[in-house]
Amino acid sequence: MKTRNVDALVVGGGSAGLAAALRLREGGASVAIMEREPYLGGILLQCIHTGFGLHEFGEDLTGPEYARRFVAPVQEAGIPAYLDATVTEIGREPHDGRGTHSVTALSTTQGVVRFSTRAVILAMGCRERNRGNVAIAGTRPAGVFTAGLAQRLVNVEGCVPGRSVVIIGSGDIGLIMARRLTLVGCRVLAVVEIQAYPSGNARNIAQCLNDFSIPLYLGHVVTRIEGRDRVEAVRVAPRDGTGIAADKEFRIPCDTVLLSVGLIPENELSRAAGVSLNEGTGGPWVDADYMTGVPGIFACGNVLHVHDLVDFVTEEARQCAAQAARYLAGEPREEMLPVSAGANVRSIVPNACAPGRRTVFMLRSLVVKNDARLIVSVGGQEVRTKRLPHVQPSEMIRAPLEPGEIPAAPARGGREAPPTVEVSIR
């Protein structure tokens, strides 16, 4: 088997992988993209709705249009993209290649393909939580789909999954699909959300549910899915404290259930490569260079943490690739301070920062709050506060800190640990 040598190998040809590959190539590195689908673009291609590109291009683009703006330059730059090629293993380079890491992939046309590379960019994206992740009682009939699968069926494969639909969870993909299914002739009977607030963004509640008079049941639980061969109904009850108000349960006859109950970064490959994960995000722990705990392995996009906006995936992928390029050039690494999620913060990326450099923190709140403040403290001392007009768990907070906003760590003895940067919301 032939081993191919590259400076950097990008795993995944979606929004993160494309932007990272382009940035690496601009810096002069030899780079290749591995993509398991037969085309580049990733999940953007099934997102035919608009709302992409407002930050990046100042335009309101559809998913395919946004993807094309990266796929075309990748092709023009002659960056090799292996399509229909699934990466099965990332490991240490044994001996026969020029790199430090070896990546093995299965290609439908070329069989087993092996790379020797000095840097790996993890850009595999995320996958949907499914029925097994949320424990819904009842039978196991046909007609239960994740929202993203339904999106693929309707927008790419050209099939409609059912006629009358109940959507469990109010994530953005579920809301987008409520509108989409209505427009292809389904009746969307309800969106049922366990929390007291929607988990998708407010704009999607307005234009996907309210426009079509689709009821949103907040603080409600689907207690049971009924049906022998095919879904026949769901039972829904309001929450009552920590339990449910069983006496107020009602039944909605339907033939299809969509689940829009969150996304999980897809990290089986990372884990097998020895990359340690961050509990808050489900993605790899990364430092200020977006480098994981394994030197030379970087991560960006939804495999690192689930984003709301593709524009920020692009931004993050570029930053990640710029740091990977510096790593490849052998530039010295700055001293970094560990970053931790403080009060009211569910998760934060990156998990270390370099005080002398601009850092874009991306975090999620645990609380819903107006006029909140973001507080950055170093070693227990508050160093910065920023006003946040409105925070809620479903909306990612992006907080850029300019060079010098975090003071450099004081000189200390050799064995003394650097102070922790803690980011919290009040």
Binding site: K2, T3, R4, N5, V6, S30, A32, I33, P38, Y39, L40, L45, I48, H49, T50, G51, L54, D60, T62, P64, E65, R68, V71, V74, Q75, G78, I79, P80, A81, Y82, L83, D84, A85, S107, T108, T109, Q110, V154, N155, V156, E157, G158, T182, L183, V184, G185, N201, A202, R203, I205, A206, Q207, N210, D211, F212, S213, D308, L309, H390
Partner: protein, 148 residues
């Protein structure tokens, strides 16, 4: 598909809480309208940009939306060609245009930006993805083999 309000009565001020859909920031806005000098005066607050104000006014008077959909193709590999209106159309026409598009069929190839329907409520329906005609796709077609 119904708008949640009727037209404002003469002299009466009408106020609505809206979430701006001009971009994913989703500003929470208050839009109020009153009849004045024979016309309707609409004021918007809570918006963070000019697009928000324009959206608030339009939403109060005659809501419009971009429609995105797919058109069935003659291809086995790419059975759906995604399309959009190049500008917003009246909201009450979304369903009608969606079913009209679903009844049609297109032969591949199509190019992003290619016009599929010339004038629907003042908007053009254009393809949003370039799709090739059916053939077995060549692996690695996006680029050349890397050097060994």
């Amino acid at each position: 598909m119904t708008a949640e309000t009727g037209s404002p009565r003469p002299g009466a001020a009408m106020e609505r809480e809206l979430v701006c859909i001009a971009c994913p920031l989703g500003c929470r806005m208050t839009v109020s309208s009153r009849i004045r000098d024979g016309g309707v005066e609409v004021t918007v607050s809570g918006n963070r940009c000019a697009r928000g104000e324009a959206y608030g006014k339009e939403e109060m008077l005659a809501p419009r939306r971009i429609l995105t959909a797919v058109v069935p193709t003659d291809s086995a590999l790419f059975p759906c060609a995604p399309v959009r209106t190049d500008r917003p159309i009246r909201r009450e026409l979304l369903g009608e245009l969606a079913s009209e598009l679903y009844r049609r069929r297109v032969s591949l190839p199509v190019e992003e930006g290619q016009v599929f329907m010339e004038d629907y409520d003042g908007a053009r329906v254009v393809f949003t993805r370039t799709l090739p005609p059916d053939e077995i796709p060549a692996v690695g077609e996006a680029g050349a083999e890397p050097e060994g």
